[in-house]
């Protein structure tokens, strides 16, 4: 249900309001349908404006985010200066086809509860699409496990996934029921950004959105058994050849407190 359009003295405003699952939200009525201001008790927002905002020490010792880096080549996770600020994670060609991880999560500190109407939203650009054995994924999960998502990954997760190409998939697993490699029908183009949202209002039927449009609507993604989670955005490849680079513009999470 739409609350109504916000107007100013010159006509319609780009920022509008809507109801989503009993919470009012302000959103941008443009291509990405970005949620500008969710109105929920618990709320996290990082736009990566400068030098990682709330992410802190180079040694990963403090801060909201923790870098996950594996590989000698080495893969990289760093802030990049684009409009709005971005954080980029990139795998490299690597000697001898080594396994690599380049990503961010919350150091396995799990504080987000799918049973509390958890919402995850991010805008990102995959600037180098995954090739060969490489994968890129983003969403929420429990403790990080550095394996390929299409055969494993964290025991609980809800992810958008790219597996060796730009074909966008959805994977979920609550350690009881898994739904893997469900095609969204969308193929991402290198360098073209999109806004991705995962909606846990009903954990028995988790919903996925790309630029405000629901995808995989005919699949019921069951996450009823899921416990506490963390956000996780990662490029990964098992031992072998492959590339993949993605840049994250912002991350928002919100939920009720009780």
């Amino acid at each position: 249900m739409d609350i109504g359009k916000l107007t100013n003295d010159h006509g319609l405003c780009a920022t509008r309001t809507r109801w989503v699952n009993q919470h009012p939200e302000e959103y941008h009525n443009g291509t990405y349908k970005e949620t500008c201001q969710p109105i929920a008790e618990c709320y996290y927002y990082d736009d990566f404006w400068t030098r990682w905002d709330r992410y802190v020490a180079a040694d990963n010792s403090a801060g909201f985010w923790e870098r996950q880096l594996t590989g000698a080549a080495p893969p990289t996770v760093g802030w990049i200066a684009g409009a709005g600020g971005w954080v980029e994670m990139a795998m490299t060609a690597g000697g001898a086809g080594e396994a690599q991880t380049a990503g961010i999560d919350c150091a396995d500190i799990l504080t987000w509860n799918p049973a509390y109407g958890l919402q995850f939203e991010t805008k990102l650009v995959v600037s180098v699409l995954p090739t060969l054995v490489s994968e890129c994924w983003w969403g929420v999960a429990n403790a990080n496990v550095e394996t390929t998502i299409v055969t494993g990954g964290p025991t609980m997760h809800a992810f958008f996934v790219l597996d060796g190409s730009g074909a966008l998939l959805v994977h979920t697993d609550d350690n009881a029921v898994s739904s893997g490699s469900v095609a969204t029908g969308i193929t991402l183009t290198a360098g073209v950004g999109a806004c991705f949202r995962i909606d846990f209002t009903n954990p028995a039927s988790v919903k996925f959105y790309v630029n405000g449009v629901r995808v995989c609507a005919t699949t019921t993604f069951v996450m009823s058994a899921a416990t506490l989670m963390q956000p996780m955005l990662q490029c990964f490849k098992a031992a072998g050849q492959g590339l993949g680079t993605m840049a994250v513009d912002y991350v928002r999470l919100w939920q009720e407190r009780y």
Binding site: W19, P24, G63, E256
Partner: protein, 256 residues
């Protein structure tokens, strides 16, 4: 005055809006009456999601928060749903404090409609000489609450042995307190506390959205100093205990 209830598909939603001292707020229509989204020029919010979020180095060299720690007291992140910060005393026979503040960087002005809100619980009730403070004040100066401690001027919810919750204010001349709130904390029971300084001559205190100590006028109009938030336990040189858990802190005010 209420802005009106926000409705969703014919039913009352948990999230509603209200006017509070000339500012619209969204709030949760539940037990704790949490202010979700204060619409104010200057608003701070920390939910302690992971590793104390805005707070940074172990040596207190950077970040919004500073750990005020004496001896083996600790302040650490608690990985529970929604994230918490735990401020703990131990039973070591020594003076201790574990207070979270802004390192004497006082930037909040009482004349600008200052509001403080926190959701807290005493995980271990104070014993013996222990006291738990939750509120705002000037530079932290550890000691039994009264003139000069825990700050030269302050407005605080306090808890002493047994869990009785009181209000203390100090404008630098007059200490008003302890004023009994009528609430007695049970270990791990959660409450949302709010201090409303819309009118410094009549500061108001709330627990779970209900105003308390109505019969007392807390006059802080003489306070010229700026303040910082201040949350945590303190004890004298004995084996007393006390552990405060903080779910979130919100502070907001006008800018000019």
């Amino acid at each position: 005055m209420s802005l009106g209830r926000l409705l969703h598909d014919g039913q009352a939603a948990a999230t509603r809006t209200r006017w509070n001292n000339n500012h619209p707020e969204a709030y949760h229509k539940g037990t704790y009456s949490e202010t979700i989204l204060p619409v104010a020029c200057n608003a701070f919010y920390d939910d302690f999601w992971t590793r104390l979020d805005f707070w940074v180095a172990a040596d207190n060299s950077a970040g919004y928060w500073t750990k005020e720690l004496l001896d083996v007291a600790t302040i650490a992140h608690l990985a529970e749903a929604c994230g918490w910060c735990r401020c703990s005393l131990t039973n070591a026979h020594e003076t201790q404090h574990a207070v979270l503040d802004c390192g004497a960087i006082c930037t909040y002005e009482l004349d600008y409609g200052l509001q403080f809100e926190a959701r807290v619980r005493a995980h271990v009730l104070p014993t013996g000489t222990s006291e738990i403070y939750v509120g705002m004040g000037e530079t932290f100066n550890p000691g039994t609450i009264g003139a000069g401690s825990p700050a030269a001027t302050y407005a605080l919810f306090t808890m002493v042995a047994g869990g009785a919750v009181s209000i203390y204010t100090n404008d630098g001349v007059t200490v008003t307190g302890p004023i009994a709130t009528g609430y007695t904390q049970v270990a791990d029971d959660i409450g949302t506390v709010r201090i409303d300084i819309t009118n410094p001559a009549n500061v108001k205190f709330y627990i779970n959205g209900t105003r308390i100590c109505r019969a007392t006028t807390f006059n802080l109009s003489a306070v010229a100093a700026t303040w910082q938030p201040m949350l945590g336990p303190w004890k004298d040189d004995d084996a007393s205990l006390g552990v405060l858990d903080i779910d979130y802190v919100r502070i907001w005010q006008e800018r000019y």
